[in-house]
C-alpha cells in the first residue's frame, strides 16, 4: 500500500487536507505551462532519468483560463498560436492541454488537466491482428482449444490488464516529469532562470536555451541523486 497522504509532513502546518489540496492546485497548471515551454524550447524532445529522451508536444487542444474567462485553442500546434501567448500575457494559465507523447514503444495522445492531473482521451494501442504481425519463423503449433465459455473471459481480462499497464506507463512518465518540474519549481533556479526564460518566451523574445538547459539540468540531476 502507498504511503499515507493524510499523514504526509508536506504542508502539515495546515491541518486540513482539503486546504492543502486546494491551495496548491495552481502547481498543476504551472506543470502544463512548463511542459509547453520546454517542448517548444527543446524542439519537442524532453528527457527524464528513467525514460531517456522522448517526444512530447502540445497537440489538439489547449485551454487557458483565469477566473471565468477562458481561451480554447485547437489545432496541430495550439501552443504556437499567437493567441496562446497572448492569453498568458493576460494572466491566463493552462487549465488543460492535449499532449502527444512518443516514448519507448508508445505513441499516444491524451489531455492532461492541470488542477487534478487527470487524463482524458488516452487511446491505448490497438492489438495487432495476426495478419499485421511480421512472420519471422514458422508458425507455432496450434494451441489447445480452451473451453468455449472460458475464452471470452480470458480475452476480457487480458484486454483489461493491457490497458491498465499502458495507463500506468503513461502515468509513470507524467510522474517523472512532475518530479523534475518540482525539483526546478522548488529551487531558487525557478526565480533566477526559469521565470526570466518564461517571460522572454511569452514575449516572443529570444531565450538563451543553453543557459536555461544548463541550469535546469543541474537542479534536476541534483534532485535525482537524492531520490
Amino acid at each position: 500500500m502507498s504511503t499515507s497522504i493524510v499523514d504526509s509532513s508536506l504542508g502539515s502546518g495546515r491541518t486540513n487536507l482539503a486546504d492543502r489540496i486546494e491551495l496548491r492546485r495552481f502547481v498543476g497548471r504551472e506543470l502544463l505551462l512548463w511542459l509547453w515551454f520546454e517542448s517548444e524550447l527543446f524542439d519537442a524532445t524532453l528527457s527524464t532519468k528513467e525514460h531517456g529522451s522522448f517526444g512530447l508536444w502540445v497537440e489538439g487542444r489547449l485551454v487557458l483560463d483565469e477566473g471565468k474567462e477562458s481561451t480554447t485553442i485547437k489545432g496541430t500546434a495550439p501552443g504556437m498560436h499567437r493567441e496562446a501567448k497572448e492569453a498568458l500575457l493576460r494572466g491566463k494559465m493552462p487549465e488543460r492541454a492535449g499532449l502527444h507523447l512518443a516514448f519507448g514503444d508508445h505513441d499516444c495522445k491524451l489531455t492532461l488537466r492541470g488542477e487534478t492531473l487527470a487524463f482524458a482521451g488516452l487511446v491505448p494501442p490497438k492489438k495487432k491482428t495476426e495478419a499485421e504481425e511480421p512472420v519471422l519463423d514458422a508458425p507455432p503449433p496450434p494451441r489447445r482449444k480452451k473451453k468455449a465459455e472460458e475464452a471470452p473471459v480470458d480475452a476480457a481480462h487480458e484486454t483489461f490488464y493491457e490497458r491498465m499497464y499502458y495507463a500506468r506507463d503513461v502515468e509513470g512518465l507524467v510522474m517523472a516529469l512532475y518530479r523534475d518540474f518540482l525539483a526546478l519549481r522548488l529551487s531558487p533556479v525557478w526565480d533566477s532562470h526559469v521565470v526570466p526564460a518564461l517571460e522572454a518566451w511569452v514575449a516572443g523574445e529570444e531565450v538563451d536555451v543553453d543557459r536555461y538547459r544548463a541550469a535546469r539540468d543541474r537542479v534536476v540531476a541534483r534532485a535525482g541523486k537524492r531520490s
Binding site: M1, S2, I5, V6, S8, S9, L10, G11, G13, R14, L17, R20, I21, L23, R24, R25, F26, V27, G28, E30, L31, L33, L88, L89, R90, G91, K92, L110, R113, E115, T116, L117, A118, F119, A120, L122, P124, A156, H157, T159, F160, Y161, R163, M164, Y166, A167, R168, E171, M175, Y178, R179, L182, A183, R185, L186, S187, W190, V195, L198, R226
Partner: protein, 219 residues
C-alpha cells in the same frame, strides 16, 4: 468511458489505510451487501448508487471472478435517478389538486395535503417511466493503492467515494498536485519552498491576489 474499451478518461484516487488480512472474503461480502438495488417507483429515495459487474451494469449478483482480476478489484458504479421533467410534474400536480378540491368541495388545500398530492403524482409519473442510470467503471489496483475512476465528474466522484468508504472502510483521496508531490516525497528544503509557494505570474498587469483564509486563521 469504460475501462474495457475505447479511450481512457479517468481520475485517480489514493486509498488511505491498510487492507485487512482477509480482505478478499471480507470485501466480497461488503460488495454484495452494497450491490446495486434498482430503484422502484414506490421507493422513498429518488436516487440510489451501488456496485455492478464491470462492463455489465445490469448484472448485480456478483461473483468473486467478476470482482477480482488478479491484483485488481474491478467494479461498475451505477447510479439510478428518477428524472421527471419539472413542467410535467407541475402541470399534473395542478390537475390533481383541482380534482381533489372539486371532490371535497373546498377552495384551499393544507400544506400537508399539497405534499401528499405531489408525492402521489410523482409516484404515478415514475411508474410510467424508468430511472436514468449513470454507469462508471472503476479499477482498484491493490498493490499501488490507487483507484482509477473512469469519469471526471466531481459529483459522481463524490458519490463513489462515499460508497467506497461504506463498502471497504477505506478513505479515498482524489489526485491533485499536492497528493502527487506528497507521494513523490520532497526533501526538507523543497518542503519549505512548497509551504511558501506563490503562483507564477506572466501577465502584463499585476495579479489579483486571493486571500489565503486558511493561512490567516493560523496566524
Amino acid at each position: 468511458m469504460p475501462a474495457l474499451k475505447g479511450s481512457l478518461t479517468y481520475a485517480r484516487f489514493f486509498v488511505e489505510g491498510e487492507l485487512p488480512d482477509d480482505f478478499r472474503e471480507r470485501f466480497m461480502r461488503s460488495i454484495r451487501l452494497r450491490a446495486m438495488r434498482p430503484l422502484e417507483p414506490d421507493d422513498e429515495e429518488l436516487e440510489r448508487s451501488g456496485w455492478t459487474k464491470i462492463g455489465e451494469p445490469f448484472v448485480v449478483d456478483l461473483d468473486y471472478e467478476d470482482v477480482f482480476f488478479n491484483e485488481y478489484v474491478v467494479l461498475g458504479f451505477r447510479t439510478d435517478r428518477w428524472v421527471v421533467p419539472a413542467p410535467v410534474l407541475r402541470a399534473r400536480v395542478r390537475e390533481a389538486e383541482a380534482a381533489y378540491l372539486e371532490k371535497k368541495g373546498r377552495e384551499r388545500l393544507s400544506r400537508k395535503e399539497k405534499q401528499e398530492i405531489k408525492q402521489l403524482v410523482s409516484r404515478k409519473l415514475r411508474r410510467s417511466t424508468t430511472p436514468r442510470s449513470t454507469i462508471v467503471d472503476l479499477s482498484w489496483s491493490l498493490g499501488e493503492g490507487i483507484v482509477r475512476f473512469f469519469s471526471h465528474s466531481q459529483k459522481t466522484g463524490a458519490s463513489m467515494m462515499e460508497l467506497f468508504k461504506k463498502t471497504f472502510g477505506l478513505t479515498l483521496i482524489p489526485e491533485s498536485p499536492y497528493t502527487l508531490a506528497a507521494r513523490i516525497g520532497l526533501d526538507r528544503a523543497q518542503q519549505a519552498a512548497w509551504e511558501n509557494l506563490e503562483m507564477t505570474w506572466l501577465g502584463e498587469d499585476a495579479p489579483v491576489r486571493l486571500h489565503d483564509e486558511a493561512a490567516e486563521e493560523e496566524e
